[in-house]
């Protein structure tokens, strides 16, 4: 067991005959912001989804706060993701039929929160992230940057200990990307949340406390300390 809040130990994951992760290890401390970088197809998103408990590795272990994912049932892992983790993806993550506020309130409703309280919290987070203007808009009516702010609000609304973000600015222009990243990191730092951020953008990686490079499914031998 490690002192890190979330840790991947010698994780292997394959899709058919393609090996995405080849014994990859990564430990992330509480409150740390780690950027995972690497070329396309290097396995960085697969590592993030394994660490978030979305994908189950074929070999190796994922630890979270002293608990081994392998020992948890599918239901327990799902509940853990909902209560302790926030997930931000590149695109297509908002429910298209729900308004911005409803999308943000959804994780709270899943946790059986009161409708009014969930709504108030959702509006509060949207305001904090500068997206209150799209509270009543559908995702199809939002710009890419607005949709990502709503997605970040949804990831943060349950007060997660770890935020996993997979190319959160990948589909945005430079200005929108910087704003969205700024909103994500400043809020995470303010709440003390740990962030694992997958990106292929050096400027995004430069905002993190530490950068880890993955190539061909394995972490590069010398991670760059910051």
């Amino acid at each position: 067991m490690s002192a890190a809040i979330v840790e991947a130990q010698a994780v292997r994951k394959a899709f058919g005959r393609t090996e995405a992760l080849r014994g990859t290890s990564l430990a992330v401390d509480e409150g740390e912001v780690v950027a995972v970088t690497g070329p396309s197809g290097s396995g960085k998103s697969t590592l993030l989804l394994c660490m978030a408990g979305v994908l189950r590795p074929e070999a190796g272990e994922i630890w979270y706060d002293g608990r081994k994912f392998h020992d948890l049932s599918e239901g327990d892992r799902t509940r853990l993701r909902r209560r302790e983790f926030g997930l931000v993806l590149q695109f297509g993550q908002l429910v298209p039929e729900l308004t911005g506020a409803q999308n943000v309130a959804l994780p709270l409703l899943l946790e059986k929160h009161d409708r009014g309280a969930a709504n108030t919290l959702a509006h509060g987070w949207l305001e904090r992230l500068g997206a209150l203007g799209v509270a009543d808009a559908l995702p199809g009516e939002m710009s890419g940057g607005e949709a990502q702010r709503v997605a970040i609000a949804r990831a943060l609304v349950t007060g997660p200990r770890v935020i996993f973000a997979d190319e959160p600015t990948g589909a945005l222009d430079t200005v929108s990307g910087e704003r969205v990243l700024g909103a994500l990191l400043s809020t995470a730092r303010a709440t003390g949340a740990t962030v694992v951020l997958v990106t292929h953008d050096n400027r995004v990686a430069a905002s993190a406390d530490r950068e880890v490079v993955i190539r061909d499914g394995a972490v590069e031998p010398a991670p760059v300390p910051r």
Binding site: T78, L87, L89, G92, Q93, L106, L109
Partner: protein
């Protein structure tokens, strides 16, 4: 063009093609039965159940048979919508390859027309099989002294005339009509789709559905005093009332879906209900049409129960009526099975269309049970109110017309309402359970990264 359409049809997958063909086969077979009834002389040269043999009741039986085409046509509508995202991408690729908008429209029509034509031709075989199973006996084959023959129940299986057959032009017309109906339903299902070389967009109808079905229900209600004013209640009036009421319920379904969605959205604190309600508000027409058959079935069920209640009140013990009602109940159960298919196909289509957001919800921590619950609520929010309204309307109309209601009859009515709503609830559960493999696939992580 036809070769390309065949390739496109095959690309849509065998299950979809089989479903399209099966629907048109059933519709074609039922229409051939209708044609056969129409060709039957007043005094048929064979022994048939009274519902068909008696010219007085034959009109109603013919109409009821025609009405049975509604559930498979609604299933056809859903089947055509199945996999529309992949179909739209194929058509957009054709536009990019140089096909004109008209050529793409024709290809789209042919893509549905080919399995519809194959199904219609198979419908002739299905009609022949039905004739073998449910055909009447010729006078020479019947021993009139036999006890078995005397049994009304046995006679009730002699439903299809064999002494007359549809002529080749009848069959050709029915096949053409059924195929064109398939193409028309396909065109309706693809209405608003704009295929450009760079992709496909949909003209979203900003206006919510209107309750125009109420007009048909009012018209059905107006037929009652008009017919009573004439004197004896003519069979044509009964047919008009049932026809208008069924079309009214089917027409009201999208509006009911929209209103039910709005109502639930503003009150719920459940994530599953919120998802279901918002889906209904965003796209009420497909969900409404999927549930429409349930409403029509409930309407006829209520009417049937009211007739049974009336018979009990006047102590009529002629087995003909009860066997006829049992036949109607059997037909309704078959129609409900088709409706389960319609609801299931709508569920699958809903999952395929939203697989990325479903996968994202699963990754965020929404359990599969909760996702399935949302699917169930999407069907339940529309089907249950429509079924309740349908069964009560059917029961009330016939009860008012009959005017006789005994305590036992009232019990029959209440039992029918409870049974109908229970069966509709079971149908919804079954429809969503059938779609579990698609729900599991939609929630797959692989869908998070598809673009």
């Amino acid at each position: 063009m036809i070769r390309l359409a065949v390739t496109l049809t095959r690309a849509g997958g065998w299950p979809r093609m089989l479903l399209l063909g099966s629907c048109t086969a059933v519709v074609c077979a039922l229409l051939l039965v209708v044609v056969t009834f129409a060709r039957l002389p007043d005094s048929p040269d064979e022994v048939l159940f009274e519902l068909v043999a008696d010219p007085g009741t034959r009109g109603g039986t013919t109409f009821a048979t025609a009405l049975l085409t509604v559930p498979p046509l609604l299933l056809l509508y859903q089947a055509i919508r199945l996999g529309t995202a992949a179909r739209d991408r194929r058509l957009a690729a054709l536009r990019l390859a140089g096909a004109t908008p008209n050529e793409v429209r024709r290809l789209g029509a042919l893509e549905v027309g080919i399995p519809a034509l194959a199904g219609s031709l198979a419908g002739i075989a299905l009609f022949w099989i039905l004739r073998q199973v449910l055909g009447g006996n010729t006078m020479h084959d019947v021993d009139f002294r036999s006890d078995v023959y005397a049994s009304t129940l046995t006679l009730s299986l002699n439903l299809l005339p064999t002494s007359v057959s549809p002529q080749w032009w009848d069959a050709s017309l029915v096949v053409i009509a059924t195929t064109l109906a398939g193409v028309f339903v396909g065109a309706r299902a693809s209405r608003g789709v704009i295929v450009t070389p760079l992709g496909v967009s949909r003209r979203q109808s900003s206006a919510p559905p209107r309750p125009w079905g109420v007009l048909l229900l009012v018209a059905a209600a107006l037929v009652v005093p008009l017919a009573l004013a004439v004197g004896a209640f003519p069979a044509a009036a009964g047919i008009a009332i049932v026809g208008l009421a069924v079309l009214g319920v089917v027409g009201l379904a999208p509006w009911a879906a929209y209103r039910a969605g709005r109502y639930a959205e503003s009150r719920t604190a459940s994530a599953a209900v919120l998802l279901a309600a918002r889906r209904l508000v965003a796209d009420p027409r497909p969900a409404g049409r999927a549930a429409a058959a349930v409403g029509a079935i409930a309407l006829v069920s209520g009417g049937g129960a009211a007739i049974a209640a009336d018979l009990l009140a006047v102590e009529n013990d002629d087995p003909f009526y009860y066997v006829s009602l049992a036949l109607v109940a059997g037909a309704l159960l078959v129609a409900l099975l088709v409706a389960v298919g319609t609801l299931a196909v709508h569920s699958v289509e809903s999952l395929l269309d939203r697989k990325r957001s479903v996968a994202s919800l699963a990754a965020l921590g929404m359990p599969l049970d909760e996702l399935e619950s949302a699917q169930r609520w999407e069907a339940r929010l529309v089907a249950m109110p429509i079924a309740t309204a349908g069964v009560l309307l059917g029961a009330a109309t016939i009860a008012v017309l009959g005017g006789n209601l005994s305590p036992v009859g009232l019990l029959v009515l209440v039992a029918d309402v409870v049974l109908t709503l229970g069966l509709v609830r079971l149908a919804i559960i079954a429809a969503v359970r059938i779609t579990r493999p698609w729900a599991v696939r939609a929630a797959s992580v692989a869908n998070l990264r598809t673009e």
